[in-house]
């Protein structure tokens, strides 16, 4: 029978600091042992490894561990508890916080059952830590084949992108740049053509929404795609949580929510009751005792309350004002958003992406709507939209450059952001909530445009964009962008 570790204030620590302090920090060793124990539990056990992963999404046909002896939960239980992850939605952050909360309690309880301490906490992976030259690599505890006692290490799995012995798997600084998301002033922005805000646009219950928020794009989607590669667990919704690193990745995403809130008094969670206590929406989980629990985002807004009782080792602002440097990517502008819809001013036809870079030229019209009524007719913000991105197979991410006018041949251009392809196959499926519309991203390029204007490199009639694969990309994934468009606001 499961016990439950007392609800004490757990401290989630930086996994790289744990690793650099000495090989196999006790909490990492216990994590490995707990994962091993959880993997032995059957598929229909809510406290089991596979059940926990299925909460994110489950596809029987692509279950890498399926076997004829599996007992699936009832259809009703599958409907209530499996395939519940919220993406492309303002519920992305609170839902994943709930998910991690109960996972952590289940692991902590398993640790206690195995003879470990009661205060085990889930570490986080701060891949954006510029003070750590190894931050973007997998910690050694996640690639070592064995534990110190010679038994197999459950934290090391082959289903990842190719990993070098030092943990390098090709993750780039662009993919973990967090200035863009941390500069977003609003949690939610549901205006068509804009960036959806830090946390995502307002939706109902949506398992795979079309318009992710800035944090969900970078670094969340980028890290999924980079770790998973073309065939690894982290690259698909239905298998992502089978990789033990998934939980540390999402602990960091959860931590960045706190970092965002703390760094600016204007950074506030939604006060809309549709977010706090949505009517008709149940986020259901099992606690460490196997009992059903139902939460609303208001329950998990504050990690210090009794229900959550955890904090992060470090939620300091990585970009204190005195040391502010230019964003590595275009990022969120600190220009205030106008309270009006964005206007589309130009778009391409469909663009196919593959192994080679693609350059697109977008003819821009003069705005004739709300933007034209503003003083000077100049937009306060400029967004680059990549609409209806679809693919038949898992593929890698892309980086987007904006080419200053007259500068195309000298260098690649200014980095606008990345287009991670995590979830693109799922979003292309007709089973997705939007019937196969694919993913749509909006990158805030206001600062890039302002910089180009100041150097007389901005052409108001045309914008050139270059899209390049971050790493080797397959040419047969069927990856296509419905159109690339520019919105002014």
């Amino acid at each position: 029978m499961a016990t439950t570790a007392a609800a004490m204030m757990r401290v989630r620590r930086d996994v790289w600091k744990m690793s650099k302090a000495g090989s196999w920090d006790p909490d990492l060793l216990w994590y490995a042992k707990a994962v091993e124990a959880m993997k032995k539990r059957p598929l229909d056990d809510p406290l089991g490894w596979r059940y926990q992963a299925a909460i994110h999404e489950y596809r029987r046909a692509s279950d890498p561990f399926s076997n004829p002896t599996d007992l699936l939960p009832s259809q009703s239980d599958q409907d209530d508890f499996w395939g519940q992850c919220q993406h492309g939605s303002w519920y992305f952050l609170p839902w994943h916080r709930m998910y991690l909360l109960h996972f952590e309690r289940i692991v902590a309880d398993t640790v206690v059952q195995l003879g470990g301490p009661a205060d085990w906490a889930l570490p986080y992976w701060n891949y954006s830590d510029k003070s750590n030259p190894d931050a973007m690599k997998l910690p050694p505890e996640f690639i070592a084949a064995t534990l110190p006692n010679g038994t197999a290490n459950a934290l090391s799995i082959p289903q990842r992108a190719a990993v070098q012995p030092d943990g390098d798997f090709g993750l780039t600084a662009l993919e973990v740049d967090i200035k863009g998301c941390l500069d977003e002033d609003e949690f939610e922005d549901s205006a068509i053509g804009t960036s959806s805000g830090f946390g995502g646009e307002k939706t109902g219950f949506v398992h795979n929404g079309a318009y992710p928020g800035v944090l969900e794009i970078t670094p969340h989607g980028d890290v999924h795609g980079a770790v998973g590669g073309l065939g690894g667990f982290m690259g698909r919704f239905s298998t992502a949580a089978l990789d033990p690193i998934f939980w540390l990745h999402h602990a960091n995403i959860d931590r960045l929510w706190q970092v965002w809130r703390d760094r600016n008094a204007k950074h506030l969670d939604p006060v809309d009751t549709d977010w706090l206590t949505p009517v008709g929406i149940k986020f259901s989980f099992h606690d460490a005792l196997g009992n059903v629990v139902i939460h609303a985002p208001t329950d998990v807004a504050d990690t210090s309350v009794a229900l959550l009782s955890y904090r992060y080792e470090d939620v300091s602002d990585p970009f204190p004002a005195a040391l502010a440097a230019g964003a590595l990517v275009g990022g969120g502008s600190t220009v205030p958003k106008a309270n009006q819809p964005a206007e589309m001013v130009g778009a391409t036809a469909a663009v196919a992406l593959g192994a080679a870079p693609v350059t697109a030229s977008i003819a821009l019209s003069k705005p004739s709507g709300p933007v034209s009524l503003a003083a000077g007719g100049d937009p306060l913000r400029v967004y680059l939209n990549f609409e209806n991105i679809t693919a038949k197979q898992v593929t890698g991410g892309y980086v987007v450059y904006v080419e200053p006018a007259g500068d195309a041949l000298t260098h690649k251009g200014l980095v606008a952001g990345t287009l991670p392809m995590f979830g693109v196959v799922e979003a292309t499926s007709r089973q997705s909530p939007h019937g196969g519309s694919g993913l749509s991203y909006a990158l805030d390029i206001t600062e890039i445009v302002n910089a180009m204007e100041s150097k007389h490199q901005w052409d108001p009639n045309n914008l050139r964009v270059r899209v390049e694969p971050i790493r080797e990309a397959p040419s047969n994934s069927g990856l296509k962008i419905g159109r690339i468009s520019v919105f002014y606001r």
Binding site: I192, Q340, P433, H434, G435
Partner: protein
């Protein structure tokens, strides 16, 4: 006031759908309240119940049925086009936004009108409205059929497709064509999702409670991205029993 309305119109370019839909509801409610106006009452039946009469293929005999269908469509299905209209409008150049929305509506309504023509031929051809008793019976059967359809995986997929977005051309005839195609695609998905409900509504068009219940089901399902098949099929079965009892 003007500025406030402008902001609503900017953010909701689909607002104008309220006008034809509202007029249709006003006409339907006026007829239901006994005013001398013919909206949902269709013409006299020409066929015997159960046997297909090819005479219905004469245009004149099913025009009244199509008139009734059109009013019902404007009242009940047109509001469901609000989301794709908004999508197309706000993703078009500002000075084309209403044209884009209109293109979507035309494509959407075309799909439904073709469906209505087909269903009208069935209703009239088989004499499903040849008497009040036959109409009630047929309406009840249609409601039971709709209850079954709620469980269909085809319905579920169609409901998801109703939330599909599309990338459209920016200028000229290509943009117009893309909007028409998008509207047509949305209309077809809507038809597959809701045809059984609309068929039941067609047969029970004089009963306001049936209309309002069906509209509520459509609106709630559209908002949830998935059917409430258990609850809605129970409601439809109860409605079927009510129609027969009355």
């Amino acid at each position: 006031m003007h500025a406030a309305f402008a902001r609503v119109a900017w953010n909701h370019p689909q607002w104008w759908l309220v006008v034809p839909s509202g007029l249709a509801w006003a006409a339907i409610l006026a007829e239901a309240s006994g005013l001398p106006i013919e909206v949902c009452r269709s013409g006299d039946a020409v066929s015997r119940f159960g046997l297909f009469d090819p005479q219905v293929l004469l245009v004149g005999s099913w025009l009244p049925e199509m008139r009734a269908w059109s009013w019902m469509l404007l009242a009940t299905m047109l509001p469901l086009a609000a989301w794709p209209v908004r999508h197309a409008a706000l993703r078009s150049l500002w000075n084309r936004r209403h044209r884009a929305g209109l293109g979507v509506v035309l494509g959407y309504l075309t799909a439904w009108m073709i469906t209505g023509a087909g269903l009208s031929v069935l209703v009239l051809g088989f004499g499903l409205k040849s008497s009040a008793a036959n109409t009630s019976f047929a309406a009840a059967v249609a409601l039971l059929l709709a209850a079954l359809w709620q469980w269909s995986p085809i319905k579920r997929e169609a409901l998801r497709a109703c939330h599909r977005t599309a990338a459209m051309a920016v200028h000229g005839w290509r943009a117009d064509l893309d909007c028409l195609r998008y509207g047509w695609s949305q209309g077809c998905s809507c038809v597959v999702s809701c045809w059984a409900l609309m068929f039941a509504m067609m047969l029970a068009s004089h009963q306001l409670v049936v209309m309002l219940t069906i509209v509520l089901i459509c609106v709630i399902e559209r908002a949830r991205h998935r059917p409430l098949h258990r609850q809605t099929s129970m409601v439809l079965v109860v409605l079927a029993a009510t129609v027969v009892a009355l």
